[in-house]
């Protein structure tokens, strides 16, 4: 159910794309919207525990879906960049990846999330043991910070929008640092 709802913005983007309603530069719009969705779902997954602690509302069962939806949008974001934006010109892509800090930051964030997505199934928790699994999944804090940083770094000016996402990421991760005493 959550997965279906979570796909709605993606389907909406697809429909807008097919009907030519993604604005004058549809590639840029698609790329940015997908990246934004990935960040929003990632931040959303990080609000579950604070909501439980502060508001005593248990939404834990939705957390995995939010994380996986985020990862799905992130994969699409990366694909749009590779295929539609860079036109799969490998010379450009490798040159860009080597030189651009914001791309490197974004790519590290993605890479950190791969093992988390891969161990998101219930069986993985059993196999790894709850403690090890929790430890591994703390990587999400770093990935979130880097994701928000990637958003801020690619802007031409300090924009209120990207800065507020970075602030949210810092807040949601910061609150964990206060909670977590022993790593």
């Amino acid at each position: 159910m959550v997965y279906l709802l979570g796909c709605v913005p993606g389907i909406f983007l697809l429909l807008r794309g097919m009907s030519g309603q993604l604005g004058i530069d549809p590639v840029e719009t698609l790329e940015h919207e997908l990246g934004l969705l990935a960040l929003q779902f990632l931040l959303g997954s990080l609000t579950i525990t604070p909501i439980l602690r502060f508001a005593r509302i248990n939404l834990l069962k939705f957390r995995r879906a939010l994380g996986l939806l985020s990862f799905g949008y992130l994969v699409l974001h990366l694909m749009v960049w590779l295929v539609l934006d860079q036109q799969f010109r490998l010379d450009l892509i490798t040159a860009e990846l080597a030189k651009r800090a914001y791309l490197i930051v974004g790519l590290i964030s993605f890479t950190l999330l791969v093992p988390l997505a891969a161990t998101s199934w219930s069986g993985a928790v059993r196999r790894m043991g709850a403690k090890g699994w929790v430890r591994l999944h703390r990587i999400v804090y770093l990935a979130t910070l880097l994701g928000a940083l990637h958003f801020v770094m690619q802007e031409k000016v300090w924009s209120p929008e990207s800065l507020s996402y970075l602030a949210m990421a810092i807040l949601l991760v910061g609150v964990r640092l206060l909670w977590i005493r022993a790593w």
Binding site: G23, I24, L84, Q86, L92, K99, A101, K156, W158
Partner: protein, 298 residues
């Protein structure tokens, strides 16, 4: 006299085609270009940019930093009457009424590539006149070496200026020989229509071999000066935006490559092309920079 290598058909979308043919006929300009245009467009592989694209994809941060913000928000700016202050090293400094100032300068169509520093590009059919024709009216004094320009700052209608994203008002500058170059124009129209507010009404600069941010919009002040002026983007990030800002595929922006550009209007799969030195106007303008290190003077 500058002869553009782009033709009318490089920019004219099909749905404007008949209208434009009529307009051209009405102006007595002849319709010779029409017949050859489409073939030339195919050869160049250029995607035409429509009025809709040109007027809905703008960087005009005074009206918001989103590409579609200016089209949405610039409508309230009143551009008639419009006054332009001319000062500095000129014989005739004054605050001029724009319509009187330019009424006797005939306009012509200039079809130019437009390359943004953000690595996207369009092809735009401007209507305007060479800046040197305007400067000739002011009596430029021999000590003047640069021209500085300033955009209107109208907080009542420019919601973007509430945010300190840039140091308003927006300013730009050119070396005098760049300003006098026949490729450098003041644009007052697009596609034969009055230039819309979001594109810099009522009068904006167009310097086709430089990144778009040099082509300052909605100009209210022109100053002839002896010292190199500082432009707004240079002030905001001197390591990223220089004074010259000539289109140069060899010199990257520190945060992204300038070697290629995405062609607006090329659709999902159309478009990334190699960027040309001086945006393809090297034959006309490279001599201006002879002996200069363009890596240093980016």
């Amino acid at each position: 006299m500058f002869k553009p290598d782009l033709t009318r058909a490089d920019v004219t979308p099909e749905r404007f085609w008949l209208n434009r043919r009529k307009l051209i006929a009405a102006l007595g300009a002849g319709s010779v270009a029409g017949g050859f245009g489409l073939r030339a467009a195919a050869q160049e592989g250029l995607e035409p940019n429509t009025w809709e694209q040109i007027t809905n994809y703008n960087n005009f941060y005074e009206f918001g930093i989103g590409k579609e913000d200016p089209a949405q928000n610039a409508g309230d700016m009143s551009v008639d009457p419009w006054r332009v202050t001319v000062d500095g090293l000129v014989d005739n400094p004054d605050e001029y009424a724009l319509d009187e100032l330019i009424s006797d300068i005939p306009t012509e169509e200039r079809i130019y590539r437009f390359r943004c520093v953000e690595a996207w590009s369009m092809v735009i059919p401007w209507n305007g006149f060479e800046l040197n024709k305007l400067l000739a009216k002011f009596g430029v004094q021999p000590e003047a070496k640069y021209v500085a320009f300033e955009t209107a700052l109208l907080p009542d209608v420019m919601e973007g200026v509430q945010f300190p994203v840039l140091d308003w008002p927006y300013t730009e500058g050119l070396r005098l020989d760049e300003a006098m170059h026949p490729l450098t124009i003041m644009a007052t129209g697009i596609y034969g229509r009055q230039i819309p507010n979001q594109n810099g009404a009522p009068m904006r600069l167009v310097v086709p071999w430089k990144y778009g941010f040099k082509s300052i919009k909605s100009i209210v002040r022109i100053s002839l000066v002896a010292e190199q002026p500082i432009n707004t983007w240079q002030e905001s990030a001197p390591s990223e935006y220089g004074f010259y800002a000539n289109v140069n595929p060899e010199v990257d922006h520190p945060r992204w490559s300038q070697a290629t550009e995405r062609v607006i209007g090329a659709g999902f799969f159309g478009g990334r092309i190699d960027t040309l030195p001086f945006n393809g106007y090297g034959n006309e303008v490279a001599a201006l920079y002879e002996g200069m290190d363009l890596r240093e003077n980016f």
